[in-house]
């Protein structure tokens, strides 16, 4: 479904991605791991269209994105849960969710029930402003919001950050549910190893903007792989 090939990305002169290639298949959870500042978020930004690649290609279902703006990518089926949540602070929870409608046909404009099944707290807070929620509540809202767009590919940047354990488990269950039920492709950036190990179908490890390992989730138990994740 999603293929990244030989992606290079620069911030000014500094190179954050150096030839990253990666696949995310439908019905599978692809996990990207790496230490702080290795370029995970940069990769996500490149995929959703927030930052242009210097070279390399990103394609969804064989369609390369090139310089396609973020909204076209979203309409093509990429749902995004950014690091730092990026809730619309002055919109209510409901309105935050409804921002996902714009790429949908009029008939599809509703919030899927499973969003509330996964995150019941959102239901209670429908009319509260997004910015007033606690950090974890915002994180839940961010995931719910991405699901409203009915994405083919769900890209999550450290979605467990700041979330209480029980809900992390819920999110885990949700991701498997989405993968299995809808055959969604899920691209998950994580630091939380156990979470990854449990969920991932395949893993990619980045270090200093380069892919240093790609393989099955089980590889995580190998010490040479682990070495990439320690300081």
């Amino acid at each position: 479904m999603l293929t990244v090939e030989n992606a290079h990305l620069h911030y000014g002169a500094a190179e954050a991605l150096r030839g990253v290639s990666l696949d995310a298949r439908p019905g599978a959870i692809t996990c990207v791991l790496g230490r702080n500042g290795v370029g995970k978020t940069s990769l996500m930004r490149a995929i959703v269209g927030h930052h242009p690649l210097t070279s390399g290609t990103i394609a969804l279902d064989g369609q390369t994105f090139g310089r396609k703006p973020a909204y076209d990518r979203a309409r093509a089926g990429i749902g995004f849960v950014p690091q730092g949540r990026e809730i619309f602070p002055l919109l209510t929870v409901r309105e935050n969710l409804e921002t996902g409608y714009s790429g949908l046909a009029r008939s599809d404009r509703s919030i899927p029930d499973y969003v509330f099944d996964l995150f019941p707290v959102l239901k209670d807070m429908m009319n509260r402003r997004g910015g007033d929620l606690s950090g974890g509540q915002q994180q839940q809202l961010a995931i719910g919001r991405a699901l409203v767009t009915r994405p083919k590919l769900l890209a999550l940047d450290e979605p467990t950050e700041g979330i209480q354990p029980s809900i992390i488990k819920d999110i885990g269950r949700a991701l498997t549910f989405l993968r299995d039920e809808f055959g969604m492709a899920i691209l998950l950036v994580e630091q939380y190893l156990d979470f990854c190990r449990e969920l991932a179908d395949s893993i990619t490890i980045l270090d200093r903007g380069e892919v240093v390992h790609q393989g099955a989730a089980e590889d995580l138990d190998r010490s040479d792989v682990r070495a990439h994740l320690t300081v």
Partner: protein, 265 residues
């Protein structure tokens, strides 16, 4: 808070006061609400001098709000908040509280994006906060050394000349911890320090905090139970604005109420 006649509770009040004297942080009967929503509800919380405490609790339990109250960002609707035994924090504002020796790391990393990593630390460095002092301030070698030390501790030494705006999320987390260290406060309030860190970094952070706790009082909020366990300190679990459970990590994590609302099955 007490509504009973004075003579009847005289001794109780006295014990309360002597209890308070021992503490570095003392919250009693604190409540705060936002537009009718009670975020903190009759919360009582004590931190002894030199103690490190871990706080857990569901999202929205009021952990961050509690720190807001202690640091003067939010005024409680009712209740007592004391620092170092007898300083009433509700009567002071943020800078005053900070200079008294309460430092804080925010949940969402906030650093001075217009400055380099090094300057961020230099600004946080303890010392006089007056304007004129800052105009005539000259950085001496001791300060230089402290900054270098902290830069190494937070592993941002190579990035010291980088603008803080250009740091990754996790790097900002570290920088904020660094600023807290530079401030050298009596009490450190650390809100989700390891969010967005790798496991190895998490362990590192736990070690660092334990180090600090030797001569500081610390309050750590975290959801990472592994990390909390690593800290090996008393744990308080908040829920809906008040204490749900308190005790050792094993005690708290096996408390069925905690499992129900927080840990999940």
């Amino acid at each position: 808070m007490e509504k009973a006649p004075q003579h009847a509770v005289g001794s109780e009040a006295e014990t309360k006061e002597s209890l308070r004297k021992e503490t570095i942080l003392y919250l009693d009967g604190v409540s705060v609400s936002f537009d009718g929503f009670k975020a903190i509800n009759n919360l009582s919380f004590l931190l002894q001098k030199g103690e490190m405490r871990a706080i857990i609790g569901p999202n929205g339990a009021g952990k961050t709000t509690m720190m807001d109250i202690i640091t003067g960002k939010t005024r409680p609707d009712e209740g007592e908040v004391f620092f170092d035994g007898d300083i009433d924090l509700t009567k002071h504002d943020e800078p005053a509280i900070a200079t008294m020796g309460i430092g804080r790391k925010f949940q969402k990393p906030t650093v001075f994006e217009g400055h380099t990593v090094e300057d961020n630390l230099a600004l946080a460095l303890s010392g006089s906060r007056s304007i004129f002092a800052s105009i005539f301030h000259h950085r001496d070698e001791e300060e230089e050394a402290r900054i270098t030390g902290i830069l190494e501790t937070i592993r941002l030494y190579p990035l010291r000349e980088t603008s803080a705006a250009n740091l990754s999320h996790g790097q900002k987390q570290w920088l904020e911890i660094g600023m807290l260290l530079a401030q050298d406060p009596k009490v450190l309030l650390v809100d989700e320090p390891v969010a967005g860190m790798t496991d190895a970094e998490t362990e590192e952070t736990a070690r660092l905090l334990r180090d600090i706790a030797r001569d500081h009082s610390v309050v750590v909020v975290e959801h990472d139970m592994g990390f909390v366990r690593d800290l090996g300190v008393k744990v308080t679990c908040l829920h809906e604005g008040s204490v749900l459970s308190e005790g050792s990590i094993d005690h708290v994590s096996s408390d069925p109420k905690v499992v129900e609302v927080y840990l999940g099955r």
